[in-house]
Subunit: 298 residues, 2 copies
């Protein structure tokens, strides 16, 4: 079964019996305020904002958004730590990245005592939906771990399987991405892919099918598999793509985001609670997509 | 001035005074035969095919393509070397990759005595045109040099500047791609980008503007630069993207190819004659695009 579409994720969020409290770190951002207000009106969330309160109020005024239903937390020096604390202490169920740098937010998330560590590798998992092919897939790690070790990659596979299953895909097809489908010493990532496939064949990842190394065309397009004579259950049908490193993942996901007619949203995996996690340059729609996606993972 | 569009490249090729002889290595391929026949009818090329002649004839028959105007070279064991020889000895002006593996073709191209070495770094340069934004840009190296050194990257910049200028863009804006716009020791490719920008500032690359590191959004979208507060002549307007390594380049270019409404073509730079160079899984249209693009570089 394919992953849920954003339309389906919105429909499910619309049926929530009570709004979920969400703490946004760095709330003085137009798209954060607008997305949270849209989500609040649909009954999805109860927004909590941290950051420079005067800046937040001015931003909301300039957008003509009434934030009287938002909780604002008294300004303190570190808005990331305050937002994380709201989640850690149970007053919020989701953390949301706002106008704040990734390293700064990650420091708060990774804090041994007050953070949201779960012991597992943290990664960004983007849910990507391509309009022309009516096709959805997950991409990871697009934003956190620069050069994941084999162990870290296996944890990312575990996380992506879990996310796919929560998105109603019980037996996800996982592609280990590379520039080629051949295992070769010239591209060490192909050897790592092969190693992870062996682990999958030993049952390491439960209900899923893992194949790799696969180039993008083979993971995405049935035609390409036929033309190149490459078979396999994941060929042309990947529900999730695990990238060899952050550089390749980040450039690929942004390449698609900016050139294709698509919808997308992003979260962090490996944290004790889901984190709504997208780039500062993203739109209101993407933030709302990311919220619908994260709500589905609770 | 922006790069020429494929429509413009086709119009120019249509005006050629005499067809250009093209030697295709591995001609027993449907899309190779169909693209060369279309190009021949438009007066662009005089096709020369090497490979298994019986297989070529059978393939042409099955496609109902009359290849009586094609030159077929008597079967010998190595179709790549025969095609390269046609170019080396001046009987063809372009080499075209057909149904043949990249390493096998590269061996013939790189042969010290009989190959097409020019002494410069060889790389694939894809010309990408995105329909929705009416935007074209070059991407390199998407297919040959796995992990280019700083010196190899400077040669790729030189080649991409030359190609852009031949595509009517006299002062191209070159983006050095990464996952971030910050120079940081955690991502060594950002430091290499910084080094190349210094060389550009010293006038190393002639008429062009080089900026980096830049993430995909900053190289492509004006909005993203505004939102992230990043300025610069290349921001949102890159005519060419130089990628940190082949893995990132290959995954990004294929990600765009398969998900966006786009047109594209590919050639090799750094060889003594242009090489029409695309994946075995590509379509007739892409092969024709690549021919129009390569003809423009002669």
């Amino acid at each position: 079964m394919p992953l849920k579409s954003f339309e389906e994720l919105y429909a499910t969020a619309d049926k929530l019996s009570s709004p979920v409290p969400v703490a946004a770190a760095g709330g003085a951002d137009s798209t954060v305020i607008q997305a949270l207000e849209l989500a609040r009106r649909r009954g999805w969330v109860k927004p909590i904002l941290t950051g420079d309160l005067q800046a937040i109020r001015e931003r909301a005024d300039s957008l003509d958004v009434d934030i009287s239903q938002f909780q604002l937390i008294e300004e303190e020096p570190d808005s990331a730590r305050i937002a994380v604390k709201e989640v850690k202490e149970g007053r919020a169920q989701l953390l949301m990245k706002g106008q704040i740098s990734t390293p700064y937010l990650m420091q708060a998330i990774l804090d041994k005592e007050h953070g949201l560590r779960s012991g597992k590798t943290i990664g960004q998992i983007v849910l990507m939906e391509i309009a022309k092919d009516q096709r959805s897939f997950l991409m990871t790690d697009t934003g956190v771990t620069i050069d994941p070790s084999v162990k870290q990659k296996t944890e990312l596979v575990e996380s992506v399987v879990e996310v796919a299953q929560k998105l109603s895909c019980p037996n996800p097809r996982i592609a280990l991405m590379s520039a080629t489908e051949k295992v070769t010493a010239a591209l060490p990532d192909t050897q790592v892919a092969d190693e992870i496939v062996q682990l999958a064949n030993q049952g390491e990842f439960g209900e899923c099918i893992v194949q790799g190394p696969l180039s993008f065309d083979l993971a995405y397009a049935v035609d390409a598999g036929v033309k190149k004579g490459i078979d396999g259950d994941v060929t042309g049908a990947a529900d999730a793509m695990i990238f060899p490193n952050l550089l390749a993942a980040n450039l690929t996901v942004k390449g698609i985001m900016y050139t294709a007619a698509c919808q997308f949203g992003g979260i962090l995996c490996g944290t004790s609670s889901p984190v709504v996690f997208m780039s500062r340059a993203d739109s209101v729609e993407t933030r709302l997509n990311s919220l619908a996606y994260a709500l589905h993972l609770l």
